[in-house]
Amino acid sequence: MGREIKKIKHSLQDILKNWSFRYVLWLSFSIVSVMITVVIGMFMNFQYSRRIDELMEEQIAASVSQASVPLYSHIRSMLKASDALYYNVIREAHFPEDSVYDEFKLVCEINPDTIESIALFDDEGNLLEASPPAILNEWVDVQEEEWFQAAIQENENVHFLDPKVQNLYMASNESYNWVIPMSRAVQIHYNDETIQGVLLINLQYSWIESIFDNTDLSNINVAILNEDGETIYDPRQRLVSLGLEEDLTEIFREQPNKDGNFIYHLNGKQYLASSRTIGYTGWKIIGVGLDQEGSISSVKGRLFVLMLFVILLTILLILNVYISNKICLPIQELVLHVHEIEEGNLDETINVSGSKEICQLGFAISQMKYVIKNLMKDIVMEYEQKRKTELDALQSQINPHFLYNTLDIIVWMIENEQQEEAVKVVMSLGRLFRISLSQGKRIIRLKNEIEHVTNYLMIQQVRFKNKFEYFISMEEELGEMATLKLIIQPIVENAIYHGMEYMYGDGEIQINVTQQGEDIWIAVQDNGPGMTQEMVKALEAGKVVESTKRGSGIGVRNVQERIQMQFGRKYGLFIESELDVGTTVTIKIPAIPYESWEGSLE
């Protein structure tokens, strides 16, 4: 069991890994909503069913009560009439001299809708008085009549007998009415004797029908049964006897003492029943109604309630979407920010709305981002510093080299007593150093760099006794572009030492500065002996060339490294050379106005 639960737990965790937080939240809310709705729905359904049954039971009980009240009231009236006739009329009369016809007639006239006839019989079944006047039917033996025997045998009670066709008297016309005999034993003064007699009041059967006609019996079947479960009144009786309808009173026939409200089943249907005993008679008035549970209106009612629950559920699901969005969107926003940070975008502003915790989290991430940004800035600065140090180190490699060469020239000139030229060279050297210093700047204007190289060329021209001519061409506006300082001079130096040393007045060094697109190309061209391709490749690769001649490529490599370190690897030196033709070294730097550089990298 525990293993199974663990397995399910793991499976659930695996599933949850693939689901978004928002979906998990929505699904959880929705499951809870559905469960609550289902539980409430089931409870409501139960209550609804119970209420329908209760209403039906109440309706049946009310109908039974509604019918039983007038029935009971009429029966009490008849008992009172019977008592009045007996105690006030019959007991006071002396038969056969006295007549009670008028009193009988009066009672009949007072109750025209209830009483069919009143008759008084002696103990031998002889008719003493009757209202309306009637002749006994010769076919009928009064003493054998049930009502007569009941009154004689139980002379202290009033007896209500089962309905029957009125057959006691000869019918004056062809109509035969149904009556309910009500009989009681009476003491009669007859010829100075007191004998037992029977007072018979025939109640009209139609009187019972009229009571039910005035009762609301929609969807309810009512009947009156006697204490033995036999039918006194049942409008469906003939349909039942012909097999056209079910006998809904069967349960009462089988259990005559069953009373109150209850539910019973008959032929797969559920019925609600109510019964009430009518005092004095032993009769039971019953009402039976088909349980409305399965009726169309009941089903429609349930479906309507179900529809309301589905609407409620839909509203809850929409609310769940809203709530889960409200909770999760700030988190998702936060996740996006984190992704941005992951990708290195530290300038993203983190604005997180939502709950307190989410805001705190956003604030924390924001703080973290600033810390990272500062750290990175520090790292970059540190790197920049390091790079600058490296550049400075490279640059410092040039200065002694150049100074060595220049001093070499000046020494040579002084040795050859060329003082004027030496002065010129020294002056040029001074200007050269002034530009070299450039207040410690690494980036200078291109025109200054050109001026620097011009001074240098002038010095070298003196040194080489005009073995070569030099030409410099540059558009004036390019002079305001920025460049690393001292990048042309080493190239020119190499052109002089490797290309012009052995020329005899026909050497040429040409410097052309041009702009091509976003780049500036500085080409230093000489007509010296040129280099082999292997040497060209070695120089481009930054290798130090072992040579017996002056220069080993250190200057070229320094320029190359400095340019690439400053501007990137797409910039640098490009060497083209052909033996006995000459060499062209082209410097490629980006065309950036000096103003925009000034202060940015320095």
Binding site: W19, P235, L239
Partner: protein, 312 residues
């Protein structure tokens, strides 16, 4: 996941619409409306009183099953032609089903062949008619009833008593089987019988003066007339076939010694109930109604109470 949510909301919407249609409209679930059926009953009699008991049962069932009935007698003379006219008229009307007690079964059958009667279904009373239009018949066993009455007469009859059987000419065809069965039964008991067919009431003026001592009315008209003509001093015994208030009254006061009777109230009730079943689409079959031979002495017997004195 948004897709799943979309599907769930679509499903909820569809469910709400379906539930609304089911719960608040009659498009799918229809409330059962108690339809009032219209049924015409055309009988082979000019006297409504002969159908009084049938009508009681009919009206009772009509009340229970919400049926509007139109009971038609042949006031203008009893003939199949007159009845056919009445049937055709009712068929043209709004009656949904026709219940016919034919004057002459053969002629009625021929009428059905020639007339469509708007294809309205027909139930026949007391007679079986072979026709596609006739769905079923509600009748009694005439032969059996004749036998039942014959046996009752034979039980009461003294030696060498003879029986006169009278029948209205207009109903002779209808009660032919009954009369034949009655005569055969009487003959089987060695009782002689004469069947007399009358056309006018005057023909029965001196009928009780005849030599026979037992008189049988093979139809309600004859039975009623015989009872009316019997004097209190007369010793002739009268028996009858059929039921009406007058016959029951005379049975109760002893003028009529016994009757063979069909439970007409039940017949009326079952006729309407079956017609309703048919209109509701149920299948119905021929029905045979209970019948009894009731002697005068048994008139108040519990067994016959609902046959002779049905609660109205």
């Amino acid at each position: 996941m948004k897709k799943v949510e979309k599907y769930i909301f679509i499903a909820c919407g569809v469910m709400i619409v379906i539930l609304w249609i089911l719960s608040s409209t009659d498009l799918i679930l229809k409330e059962e409306i108690e339809e009032v059926y219209r049924i015409s009953v055309i009988v082979n009699d000019s006297e409504e009183e002969n159908w009084e008991y049938f009508q009681r049962g009919m009206e009772y069932a009509a009340d229970q099953y919400h049926v509007e009935t139109n009971f038609i007698t042949l006031y203008d003379g009893i003939s199949q032609r007159k009845q056919n006219e009445a049937i055709a008229r009712e068929a043209e009307g709004d009656a949904q089903i026709l219940i016919v007690c034919p004057v002459n079964a053969q002629e009625f059958q021929e009428f059905l062949v020639e007339n469509s009667l708007k294809e309205k279904p027909i139930l026949t009373l007391k007679r079986k008619v072979q026709s596609d239009k006739v769905i079923a018949s509600i009748r009694s066993d005439e032969t059996e009833r004749g036998k039942m009455l014959g046996e009752m007469i034979a039980e009461d009859a003294k030696e060498e008593e003879t029986v006169w059987i009278g029948i209205n000419n207009q109903k002779q065809e209808m009660y032919q089987e009954f009369c034949e069965s009655l005569q055969e039964t009487l003959q089987s008991y060695g009782i002689e019988s004469n069947l007399s067919v009358w056309n006018e009431e005057e023909e029965l003026e001196d009928v009780l003066e005849r030599q026979e001592t037992i008189f049988v009315g093979a139809d309600t008209d004859t039975t009623k007339l015989l009872a009316e003509k019997k004097q209190e001093t007369d010793e002739e015994k009268i028996y009858g076939n059929g039921i009406n208030a007058s016959i029951v009254h005379n049975l109760e006061n002893g003028r009529i010694n016994g009757i063979a009777v069909v439970d007409e109230t039940s017949m009326g009730c079952l006729t309407i109930a079956n017609a309703v079943k048919l209109l509701q689409g149920d299948k119905i079959t021929d029905l045979m109604i209970d019948q009894y031979a009731i002697p005068s002495s048994e008139v108040y017997s519990k067994q016959y109470e609902q046959v002779l004195f049905p609660i109205s």
